[in-house]
Symmetry: C2
Subunit: 344 residues, 2 copies
């Protein structure tokens, strides 16, 4: 950044005008956006899907290693991921931020560059928000709206016994990216002269800092003309989300360690840190992949999609939730999600 403009020099309304000056609507349903008491959305004949998430500095992100542009992008994407997880199409977002004076207008511009990049990538409209002062950290709250044909949304509760359990993409990468960046931060704080060693780690760092929402999977369902029986996005870790699906659907499940999709770069990173790649895949959060169940007769429809892995199947509730390891052992799945990791 070459120059620094104080937020106070623009004032609250000047700042909002500045940050929202270039919005162009992508959706016909966006009738009225930023600049009035509320925004207007028209979803005639479609159901509106609503999701909201809050991101807090020091809890969900660390500005020491999170570029603001990536943070803006990610804060949109994590909300869109929830909309896709309902089998819906995101159409609008509102973005509220609380910032302290340590941020310049240029810093907020970077953040919003990321916000707008995500809006453009996913064809959603920013239609409102709130910008206020924070005495302490940076807090971001995003609400996403989407639309779905009546009755076509997919809940967590619809899985049936025998359904195949599937995940998109690969798992554990974001957690390994976090582990790496936390290690580099610690080294930097102790030895400021040491340069970070991020070579060959682009994949896991990218998984943490710039996740994408699985729009492609939702489009694939539409193209293949079938629906999962249940679905959710993996934000807290596969174990935790599997327990949500089984509990909401009143079933048990079996998954297979050898079927868990782990990227080769994530596997290498895990070994480097002395971590078990399977534990990272089970308990690492923030991958924003989709976890869903399908009827066995729909297996043919997904088998050629390399972005989808079948990892197990749903069982009677009495059987509980278990993983079969490569060594032939069976372990009960417990919720050791993201939060557990962070609190250790």
């Amino acid at each position: 950044m070459d120059s620094r403009t104080e937020i106070s020099s623009l004032g609250e309304f000047g700042l909002i005008d500045h940050l929202t000056a270039n919005i162009e609507f992508q959706n016909a349903s966006s009738i009225l956006g930023v600049g009035d008491d509320a925004a207007i959305v028209d979803h005639f004949g479609r159901q509106t899907v609503v999701s909201t998430d809050m991101l807090v500095e020091g809890v969900h992100f660390d500005l020491m290693y999170t570029p603001l542009k990536h943070l803006g992008y990610k804060s949109v994407v994590v909300n869109l991921s929830d909309i896709y997880a309902m089998n819906a199409t995101p159409t609008q977002i509102t973005m509220s931020i609380a910032v302290s004076n340590k941020f310049s207008v240029e810093a907020l511009d970077e953040f919003y560059e990321g916000v707008y990049a995500a809006c453009e990538r996913y064809q959603v409209d920013l239609i409102g928000g709130d910008t206020c002062t924070s005495r302490t950290g940076f807090v971001i709250s995003v609400t996403a709206l989407g639309e779905v044909a009546p009755g076509s949304f997919v809940q967590r509760s619809g899985a049936r016994k025998g359904d195949l359990i599937c995940v998109s993409g690969d798992l554990g990468g974001a957690f390994l990216g976090l582990t790496l960046l936390e290690r580099e931060k610690k080294i930097f704080l102790e030895h400021p002269a040491v340069q970070p060693d991020l070579e060959n780690e682009q994949y896991v760092v990218g998984r943490l800092l710039k996740p994408e929402a699985r729009q492609d999977i939702i489009r694939f369902f539409e193209l293949q003309q079938f629906l999962p029986t249940s679905m959710m996005d993996i934000s807290d870790g596969l174990s935790s989300e599997l327990l949500h699906i089984t509990s909401k659907s009143a079933l048990g499940c079996i998954i297979y360690e050898e079927k868990l999709p782990v990227h080769e770069d994530a596997r290498q990173a895990a070994f480097k840190f002395g971590l078990d790649p399977t534990a990272c895949a089970l308990s690492g959060g923030e991958d924003y992949e989709l976890l869903f169940t399908i009827r066995q007769e729909d297996h043919d429809k997904i088998v050629l999609n390399e972005q989808i892995s079948v990892i197990g199947y749903m069982t009677e509730p009495e059987k509980g939730c278990h993983i079969y390891t490569k060594g032939g052992n069976q372990f009960r799945i417990t919720a050791q999600g993201w939060n557990a990791f962070k609190e250790q």
Copy 2:
């Protein structure tokens, strides 16, 4: 409070279940609520109105004199006020909070008691949200959805030359309540033994801590079968909002000091603090009254409503925005809203 339950003893999902266990939907359009990735709303044939607001501890509220139940109530009401200000009917809200460990489950129950009381009073459904940890203060983010018949929403930009400027209720009370509570806080911090002197101040304190949104005014428009030409709610102060309406409508305005509605209790409180009641009405924020303009020919329709005051009229833009004082002077209106007050 007799007992204290640590939030950590419930865990995030246990806490959400605990706080949302008793939700019963009031609106047929609320299809699916808390407990999945997103909520589903059905607004067939109506337009969806969306508004969002963030409230930050130490900036928007002081927990030293704000009961949590009132805070929960107010955090809903300020959002509903924005929906009414579009001439729409609020139907759903999402509520996200970031809290530190200093809050017990019992404290959050109090907060949510207020949230649910507001939901019941205004017949809106809580359909989603996010609950997360804060390292520092309490942050609340609410998004409200509402509905309106297509094309019936009222923007800030619709005022025309000659339109009458109206406000609901009375102004300045909330600012005087804040002034009073800030004074009592200061006295308490300096002399903890001194008991607060809030006798005869219920009105102004109530205006700050438990504001109501003007649902009655929107219903009145419907009953009288006419629409304002422009409207917004008064959250930052009358001066600031008048400048928004005139700027968005590309007009000027004249208002009359003697027409400004100030409650007798607020007037007395102002005198007690050596403040000008008119300055409080112009620049004090958080009254959550409605500011709107109507065609002159609609004057008959509002004249008998004691909750509506005509305070002036819209002029050519060249004339700017002015107030005629009781003494016969004319002053330019400048934006000295809430924020300006707080920064002094």
